[in-house]
Symmetry: C5
Amino acid sequence: MTLGKVIGTIWATRKDDGLVGMKLQIVRPVGLDLQTKEGFFIAVDSVGAGVGEIVLIATGSSARMTEITKNKPVDAVIMAIVDKIDVAD
Amino acid sequence: MTLGKVIGTIWATRKDDGLVGMKLQIVRPVGLDLQTKEGFFIAVDSVGAGVGEIVLIATGSSARMTEITKNKPVDAVIMAIVDKIDVAD
Amino acid sequence: MTLGKVIGTIWATRKDDGLVGMKLQIVRPVGLDLQTKEGFFIAVDSVGAGVGEIVLIATGSSARMTEITKNKPVDAVIMAIVDKIDVAD
Amino acid sequence: MTLGKVIGTIWATRKDDGLVGMKLQIVRPVGLDLQTKEGFFIAVDSVGAGVGEIVLIATGSSARMTEITKNKPVDAVIMAIVDKIDVAD
Amino acid sequence: MTLGKVIGTIWATRKDDGLVGMKLQIVRPVGLDLQTKEGFFIAVDSVGAGVGEIVLIATGSSARMTEITKNKPVDAVIMAIVDKIDVAD
């Protein structure tokens, strides 16, 4: 899984029926210092994550293993909101 | 998922039976400013996306979760046409 | 999916039973100008693609969705031979 | 699979029900000399790997093939703790 | 699929039950000239490939499609030993 920060939302009217009701969040990857990095991707929100929150993202077929994404054409899901990061590095 | 812009179409006569009737669109990745970036890939269209439109693409096994791509040998699908992008970054 | 050009063939006698009878083609990625790029990968041919042909390749679990690759340990399949590329870019 | 070193832990209260009870470890990739490299990812621990240990990680759908990750929205799992590396290179 | 050269072996005592009895080989990617390149990954051997041999590797869910890797938490498998490479490039 990767860490990211929610920075916005995508809106689409014409879409696969499986996407109806899903929130499509724009996510930037972040480092362990929580600073955003280059790039972004779109992930379905399954935990009510809002803009500015640090989240955990699962990709690939594993993105379909939450209740709302089951059998849906989505390849990235926000499945946790991060509270704390302990690094011993 | 990633954002892209449809820039063209691929035509193939000799192909797996599962591809018959599918529209194979050429997609360039775009940034949040909707400008195209380097590179391209081919994705099956499931929502009637035409050249010039900004679309959302799912890849991997999730690309087979639309009605027309189910159990087909395709690893990228256009499953939404983007109306609006809200970025709070 | 990606575009590639078949540039050769791999031969293997000691292999998983599932690979018996499959043609293992060496493919180089190509740009929209059909010029080959750096790198290569190996893909199972499902459409009779010969050396020099421009082909469409599906990867990951989707590579197992053709009749000959079903349930086989292969992660890339040639599933179409490209006739024409229309780019409006 | 890839080799990594556990360098910390992620904590999340608001998360998919499937993640309850799972330990989310922060892993840095390592070379064959066991020195850490740039980057990191989050993997579920299935073998009791602690901070500082060198581990083997499986990603993608294969990350769901351990008892604790079955059908869960996780795309990386620590499934072995490395004892010894023999390189003949 | 990719080409690689087996350069060593990983040993692990504490591991997922599904890995018992599997040989975990260290593989470096090779070019068409069979020279090793930067990087390495770990793959389960399904064909008796020894150190120094040039092999074909399948990754992702396809790595679970050999008899010994079925339903196991492994994402890369050596499923052929390469005899010959014909390149017309």
